[in-house]
Amino acid sequence: MSTKSAGISRRKLRVNPAAVALAPSFILVFIFVYVFIAYTIRISLSKSWMPGLQNFDLPTPWYGTYHDLFTNFRFQADLRNTVVFTVLFLILAVVAGLFLAIAVSNMAKSKVFFRNLFLMPYAVSFIVTGVIWRWIFNPVSGVNLLLKYSGISSLYEKVFGSPLKPQWMTSPEVFGNMNSLLSNVIPGGDSLQAQMGVPIALLPVIFAAAWQLCGFAMAMFLAGLASIPHELREAAAIDRASGFRYYWSIAIPSLIPMAVTATVILTSTSLKIFDLIYAMSGSGIGFSTDMPGIYVYESMYKALRYPLGAAASVVMLVLVSAVVLPYLVRFNKGTEE
């Protein structure tokens, strides 16, 4: 948004009074976004900065705080969780959103009702979602009772020998181990302490997040579907293309820009995720559901290690920028052409 208007103002600076009108907001954005980012980076490079004792002396080596951060078991687990969470959550939310959009757009009746129904979770706060899904995935009450009384659990027992009682968020297991692979690929990979795999406890949280945000993806896809000219569908019908064929060859390819936008927005949400995890599972056994956001919060305001918290938030900023910047650059090019 801001880069878009920056592009316009750069071209018309000399003649356009709009630039004068926009200047105050640019100055404010500059101070409250960019100056503060620079300030945070500076704190992250200090040895012992505190709000009341603003000592900016560097540690030795100057990148000491970052070294502490990346060799820390907890932060390694956090980065693993972020990657696993983001990838699985995106797949689930975007695919579910697409299916919902196609289903809703094909409804003969109550289209509006179902559109709103599926969009509803998006309006709920993450804290509410977290608490509700914590109850649902409680291994003693929750969804396991459904498995028990529906007979699925005993059926499973007949086939596999033990009753089906998933532990959900309370599972300490990490599926898979990529440590040896990663230690060959990334520099300093031999100091990996956390097991690099898919923490089982993260799956219910991913499900809850996808439940909440697939409605958002659906809304974007619905807008995309509505913008496809009706003639295309009629032409496809005349050519005797099946419904599946129409979606596979015509509708879905034309939805790709929507999918990219949805992916970028959802990725930035997922990299910053805090409240859902905090309410639903906390840090989990062995940090199986911990996230960088929680780490920043606790190192700053519980451990009072401001430089460490600042360093972790700089890492989060870099991760989000890596996703958002290429998108903005592409978007900017698109509008200038």
Binding site: P51, L53, V140, M169, T170, S283, S299, Y301, A303, L304
Partner: protein, 422 residues
Amino acid sequence: MLRKKKLIASVAVISASLLGISQAEVASAAGATGKVEVFSWWTSGSESAALNAIYAGTKKANPGIEIVNAAVAGGAGTNARQVLATRLAAGDTPESWQSHPGGDLKGYVDQSAALDLTSLYKSEGWSKVVPKALQDSMSYNGKVYSVLTGIHRANTLWYNKAALRKAGVTLPAVVTFADLSAAAAKLQAKKIAPLCLGDKDIWTAAQLLEETLVGEVGAATFNNLVAGKASWSDAKVQTAISHFNTMLTWANSDHKALDWTGAVAALANGTCAFNVMGDWAYGELQVKQGKKDGVDFGYAVIGDPKVFVTVGDSFVIGAKAANKAGAEAFIKSIMDPKVQVAFNKLKGSVPYRTDVSTASLGVYQRGAAKTLATGTLVASLVHGQQLVAASVSQAFSDATTVLEANQDGKAFAKAMDAAAKA
């Protein structure tokens, strides 16, 4: 009466300004005046009621004072600390604010944000009537920086009487891990989970480990461990850690999905038998769960019953506060014997002053007050009360989180040795 006091005060102010006496001196003569901003994280039910009891005391002694209650809710003070950090950085200091003794307070002293209260402790005679260990937990280089409102006990072992009866368990006066282990076997035979735990938030598990550790190694060694003067790989520490690992296997299977109130509810329902929790659980059991002390539930301590693991909240005077006389009046009213009793009655804790009458407090509180005055006091590391950097307390939580997953006592010791000696 009030009007008369105000009249005297205004006459005093006028004559003082004529004579060139400073405002602060007048304040000490006829009660403090002006605005006093008090910053805390007490916003809910019994907490805010207890805080209001202090305010009432301050206003009674200083009719001309106006208290501005700046309370920030949430996160056991983490949110409030965040707001306070911003305000301190901007030089906008409240007159007084809430702080845990130990690491939290040390942070403010390091930043020269809190005022030295040693002379007040002397002139008011407080040093003689408060437990020395507690005063020490708020002292740096021989200077004391805050006053406690009241003290909670962290190392209480609650149990469901009916569940123990059902399993045929009787507890001796001094409960050791061996006693618990024998009880656990009997309880498991009756399909009752021996331990109630709700460690969705890790501090509850960390507290279980802390109290097991204090019970095993004793108060002095625990303090040395925290201060980095003893090694965490010591055999006795490792024994306590393996006890903790064993106890986790006794817990209700949904422990990672519950918070501490869920564990207390499970204890009240009798689906599990023991719960290590601070005595804030007392109110939860009595009021929310409707259970009776001595009939439905009882309490003990792991290890020496004279050991009291303390969790308190204290208030400081801002070094850069505008109205220091007002802040002093507020601190004095916290230490007023009547206010101490009124506050702790509402909050469910034990008075900081050991010379006040506890007759009006509940049965449990009277017993705890006695132990506080005569027992061995240890400041809780989990609740940030130890006189070390706050990062040590965080390291303990983090190491417990990892321990839950890998049961590796050696790795735990390595992490804690590094943190305590840093």
